[in-house]
């Protein structure tokens, strides 16, 4: 690709020269500028000391070290696999329980009336506040992490599914009924598809919450995982490794989010493009 200078895009489009959107150019330029500023202020000018923020060289060296020799009880891959695994187990369990529950609450007012009060008591407690209790109950192993991830991912799944079902368009339900659809068909062919955009919104928020909670739980105490690497790096005042762990957390989170977005696009194919 041949990047063109912003604003200087030729009016006539040439087939061999794909037009690059101005926003992409500006975005890339900003990021490059930031990277250069980072390099200048740490390595070249020494404005920021290594105990505050690492230089790019130190970052690469730390990356190499955790990749090959390992750090805080595992290599980078091992930490990533551990964290992603916990997120998936906690997230999927929460979704498997939360979506059906939210669905029932939206579908039947009696179930809503029954579940809501307990929900109202427990919901204001932020998921992270469950970490100490989880440790009391399950000690520091995987189970306590899965539990708190479950708690944090559960709420958005329930609420958004509930809202989605509540807002299923009434005239579509009626259209199904007047064409003889059974209750099962109305649920499968009207409620589920019409609520699915909201359900996916809930899944996205759940996944995001899962990562936040996992990182916190692993920082509080863990034997392996990205949060554990981050915690060890902090105790060692190893700023390059702190940055490596943060970047790894961001990339892992981004990849799982993209995976979910792919799935969403597949399921909601029928939607009009914007």
């Amino acid at each position: 690709m041949m990047p063109t200078v912003a604003g200087a895009v030729p009016a006539k489009r040439n087939a061999w020269r794909p037009r690059v959107r101005r926003s992409v150019v500006t975005g890339v330029a900003t990021i490059v500028a930031l990277l250069v500023a980072w390099w200048l202020s740490t390595s070249v000018l020494g404005l920021v000391g290594p105990a505050r923020f690492p230089s790019p060289e130190a970052f690469v060296a730390a990356l190499q070290r955790i990749w090959t020799q390992g750090y805080a009880g595992g290599t980078l891959i091992e930490h990533v696999v551990q964290s992603v695994r916990l997120v998936f187990v906690g997230f999927l369990t929460a979704v498997a329980v939360g979506v059906p529950l939210g669905f029932l609450m939206g579908y039947d007012r009696r179930i809503e009336a029954f579940v809501n009060p307990v929900f109202l008591v427990l919901r204001p407690i932020p998921p992270l506040a469950w970490i100490p209790l989880a440790i009391v109950w399950f000690s520091l192993g995987d189970a306590s992490k899965v539990f708190v991830i479950f708690v944090s991912a559960f709420v958005p799944s329930v609420i958004n599914t509930y809202t989605g079902v509540r807002n299923v368009r009434k005239h579509l339900i009626e259209a199904a009924l007047v064409h003889g659809a059974s209750r099962g068909r109305v649920i499968r062919e009207v409620y589920l598809p019409d609520a699915s955009p909201m359900i996916f919104t809930g899944l996205r928020l759940s996944l995001q919450a899962s990562w936040t909670t996992l990182v916190a739980a692993e920082l509080v105490g863990a034997f392996l995982g990205l949060g554990r690497a981050l915690q060890t790096a902090y105790r060692d005042v190893n700023t390059p490794m702190i940055l490596v762990a943060m970047v790894a957390i961001a990339i892992s989170g981004a990849l799982t989010t993209i995976l979910l977005a792919r799935l969403e696009k597949r399921v909601i194919r029928w939607r009009a493009e914007a």
Binding site: T26, A129, P132, V136, T212, A216, A250
Partner: protein, 257 residues
């Protein structure tokens, strides 16, 4: 049509069941009190913590110091996020520059900032405020941005033709126009900020209501942990109710209900 059973009976029975089962399993000794204390034990513990200091202070003092920190971090996030979001909605170049950086930032879980926050600002108030900030910043910015984008272009042009400066456009057109969206964002961001603070207090900050939980946990006193959880939930709820009040007021004023 009349229902056989009124809905509120379902709600009541659910609460009775919840606390009944909790009290039941603990009184019958089905679970150890070191795993799950009974509701009564928790209530007693809460009263005790209001009268005698635990981890250096009374319960409400811990809660209050956490709340003050929250206000600091949340205020900072709003003070930076909202104007930046508004400006991004107004100036395309700024939008194009900040957006990719912001997108990358959004994938970093807020608590992952704890180490840098502690190294840069210490494990006292400074570090805690930075963690709250990183948790609360994103919704402030996004909602101000969206709100600004939705402001009628004609209003901005009308202001320009009447000779308004950029500052006056920002404060007298963009800000009021985007206010409903901004307030909605503040509510989300307050929730995230409050929870980030609790996380920070669990990890490095050795004071505040989150620290009470960690102390309770290492003292093998789950009733202390649960008391703190309830206080945290209560404060979170009060923050949300307060902001919801603001949201309703703004909406009523701007949109005529």
């Amino acid at each position: 049509m009349t229902r056989a059973v009124p809905l509120w009976l379902y709600s009541l029975s659910s609460l009775v069941l919840f606390f009944g089962v909790w009290q039941g399993v603990t009184v019958l000794g089905l679970v150890s009190p070191f795993v799950l204390p009974s509701p009564v034990t928790v209530a007693e513990r809460a009263i005790a913590m209001m009268q005698r200091p635990f981890a250096g202070a009374l319960l409400w003092e811990h809660a209050f110091s956490s709340f003050l920190r929250f206000l600091g971090g949340f205020g900072l996030a709003a003070a930076i996020g909202v104007p930046l979001g508004l400006m991004m909605g107004r100036f395309r170049l700024l939008d194009e520059m900040v957006t990719p950086v912001f997108e990358a930032y959004r994938y970093v879980a807020p608590l992952a900032w704890v180490p840098f926050a502690a190294l840069w600002f210490g494990t006292g108030v400074g570090g805690a405020i930075m963690v709250i900030f990183t948790g609360a910043f994103a919704p402030c910015l996004i909602n101000a941005y969206r709100g600004a984008r939705l402001v009628d272009k004609h209003l901005i042009e009308a202001a320009q033709t009447h000779g308004a400066s950029e500052f006056r456009i920002a404060t007298e057109v963009l800000l009021p126009g985007a206010l409903p969206s901004i307030v909605a964002g503040l509510r989300v961001s307050a929730g995230l900020g409050w929870q980030s603070l609790i996380g920070a207090e669990l990890i490095v900050v050795s004071s505040g209501i989150g620290y009470v939980m960690i102390q309770g946990q290492s003292n093998l006193s789950p009733q202390t942990v649960i008391t703190a959880m309830l206080v945290i939930g209560l404060i979170g709820l009060l923050i949300d109710v307060g902001l919801r009040g603001v949201e309703t007021a703004v909406r009523r004023k701007w949109e005529g209900q």
